[in-house]
């Protein structure tokens, strides 16, 4: 019980503690970006995380009722004498049984309606305008982030022109960084090259599987600038535990500047991205090889 309360407090503290990225605690932050800051920083994540406290409170009430009743029964009815007398042989009570079937039924129905409402209206809401569109491909054991131009192509049909920024890397040292703008919905289109992976950022309160042969889309809106650690969350083989990445959320103007810097203006965009790509890919391969060797 005490533990449950600690869990809730830990959660609450860090949920309120959004701006602070310093100072280790029991659920502390990290400096290297590979650990997990605990605050939730996306609009969708905050809506999702908001479900935790009410459900936790319901769970606490049920916990107290059942454990309290159990404790009461143990203390009240423990047999003190060794007599052969029998207690009253009650076989059941229809009214009671209907009541204790109906109350959980109503409770779970309310929970279903509330949580599905958040799921459909907040988490899975779709917008037409995106601050960034990134095609993510997961591979053993790294990530490729391929930026698309949200202003180009046909968003209705889901076709975009590449911006010319491709970032990739893998392993513990070569973890790639995905730079995203703050305050605007970002569209991520996720797939995998080889086996199933999962794109997981605890600060976004969200994960989504990357599945070969399938593109999965989701949106998120980051509210706080900062660097957020992420990790593959579906077991994918030997170096699964080293498959990190991070998200660097920048204010909109800084993000635009970053895009401009990466593309070096429209003229040198292609050359630049190829260089980045080649370099990163070599890194990833190196990590991949060293990981295999470790086996």
């Amino acid at each position: 019980m005490v533990g449950l309360i600690i869990a809730a407090c830990g959660y609450e503290d860090s949920a309120n503690n959004t701006g602070d990225t310093e100072g280790p605690g029991l659920f502390g932050e990290t400096a290297n970006g590979l650990g997990f800051p605990h605050e939730v920083v996306t609009t969708e994540g905050i809506a999702s995380a908001g479900l935790y406290l009410p459900i936790f409170l319901i769970a606490v009430v049920i916990f107290i009722i059942v454990e309290g009743l159990l404790l009461f029964l143990i203390l009240r009815y423990r047999k003190r004498s060794s007599g052969a007398d029998l207690p009253e042989q009650t076989h059941g009570n229809n009214l009671l049984e209907v009541i204790w079937t109906a109350i959980p039924m109503v409770t779970v129905f309310v929970l279903f309606v509330v949580s599905t409402n958040v799921l459909m209206n907040d988490v899975q809401a779709r917008s037409d305008e995106h601050g960034a569109v990134v095609d993510v491909q997961a591979f053993r054991f790294g990530w490729i982030f391929d930026y698309q131009d949200p202003a180009s192509g046909d968003p209705e049909a889901g076709t975009y022109e590449p911006v010319g920024i491709t970032i990739s890397g893998g392993g513990r040292e070569g973890a790639p960084e995905m730079t995203l703008p703050v305050g605007e919905p970002v569209l991520i289109r996720l797939t995998a090259a080889d086996v199933i992976h999962s794109w997981y950022v605890p600060s976004f309160f969200f994960k989504r599987d990357a599945i070969p042969g399938r593109v999965t889309e989701f949106e998120l809106t980051i509210e706080q600038p900062g660097v957020y650690g992420g990790q593959c969350a579906e077991f994918c083989g030997l170096a699964h535990g080293d498959m990190f990445f991070s998200v660097n959320a920048l204010a909109a103007d800084e993000y635009d500047a970053w895009v401009a810097e990466q593309t070096g203006g429209a003229l040198t965009a292609e050359a630049n991205s190829e260089a980045t790509n080649a370099e990163a890919a070599t890194d990833a391969e190196a990590t991949d090889e060293s990981a295999e060797k470790a086996a």
């Binding site: 009815y77 207690p87 599905t116 080889d194 309160f205």
Partner: protein, 555 residues
Amino acid sequence: MGTATVPSGAPASRRSTIIEWLTTTDHKKIGVMYIVTAFVFFMFGGVLALAIRTELAVPGLQFVDQAVYNQLFGMHAVMMIFLFVMPMTTGLANYIVPLQLGAADMAFPRINALSYWMLVMGAILIVSAFAFGGAPTGWTLYVPLSTNTDFTPMTGVDLLLLGLVVLGFSSIFGAINFIVTIFKMRAPGMGLMRMPMFCWTSLVTSVLLLFSLPVIAAGLIMIFIDRNYGGGFFDPALGGSPVLWQHIFWFFGHPEVYILILPAFGVISEIIPVFSRKPLFGYKAFVLATAAIGALGFTVWAHHMFATGAVYLPFFAFFTFLIAVPTGVKFFNWLATMWGGHLRFDTPMLYAVGFIALFLIGGLDGAFLAVVPFDFMVHSTYWVVSHIHYVLVAGAVFAIFASLFYWFPKMSGRRLDERLGKIQFWILFIGTNLAFFPQHMLGLDGMIRRISDYSGNAGWTELNFLSTVGAFMIAFSVLPFLWNVFITLRKPMEHESDPWDGNSLEWATTSPPPPWNFDSLPEIRSERPLFDQKYPGVGHGPTPEPAPETEGAAS
């Protein structure tokens, strides 16, 4: 568990005793062999768990490397699920169900022996995987990781697949055997609605096995073909689908959870009434709840796949919430059974009450997972690890120890030592909470499962260390039990036929029972025939006489 202790009639030479056990078709001997085999794998799987927890005790890789670690968690799960809990509950049911029904044996004694020996064969195949590169796939065997031999070239994976298929057929045969036994072998007067609850849960479990195991057996063979002959069932490049495997796996995998826990519900529903000296409160509701869990168990499988983004979320969320209701009904029925009773806290009851206290946590943290947006956060994290262990350790393992203490006198003719039993209970009770409660907080903070290392800066070190201490306490709690069994079997037999003042027919024969089980049976007019015989006139509540023949027609 006392393999060589059940007397087999006249004194026999050692050689003929061994031959007799190896060739037996007696459901009691087969049950004991199941139980002993399962306990061996409980310890084997436990050693793997200790290796996992030792590695995770502190950040960094100290004890095993990634390649070994990746074999550990999958094999731990396979052993605990397929080679411990399933054979253990099958063994208990093998021993007890025919006795509770008043039958002389199972319906198909030789198929019963075949099921056991197929278990041994499957176990050998699975263990031999360690000698052939292991099976670093997790127990879920997700494709394409398990189908692509570039990533999992080791023969160990094939051996695991074959072993699981053999175990699957063993369980299918067993399920058919139990269903036929329960429908056709009940003693005169024992209608379906007079069966002890353990028989009911065994029946529903067998139906779940029969519906789910052929599906997974087919799926495992499809993976085997994909791996070895280029089948392409699950390969998107060949028109297959990786998501299809997850549907197949969890269509089996979720009912499997109920296959593991329903017999536990049955055991608890036997023990609580006996040690409260009252009938089970709301017997009919309990039967309905068991059937409802069985049926709903087939409607929730894709809640293991919320994060794939490839399933219709509200449908599976709705049924996942709904399945909490019949489980809740059971809790209230157990508590109402204790209400006003004369509670005796012998070790079986201690474990039963511990089960209620801790399984509740596994129910509550599971309900959180039905909240899809919350599941997106904690799916595949230690929250889920904690949930499954509250269900399978605080649930299944507690119920298994409850039933071993409860039925040991029937099987061996001697009671286990109460003091050692209570010491064991408290070590296990504290160890379970210490090992698994902190994992909730790790999951909430984003620690994913199936990783051999975590950052020292993540703030997870203390919680992981606590969890490791708890795991060692759980392992340590097995020692007093082994010692208990050892010293008890050295004592002379007491031959108490009814040590706990029991209700059901297994207590109406000698301990241990003769090969033919019963010399005579009491008249069966309720779900407590032995109780009715011992306390005439009080068992039927307000309308005791005469018991009309209303439900016996079902047989």
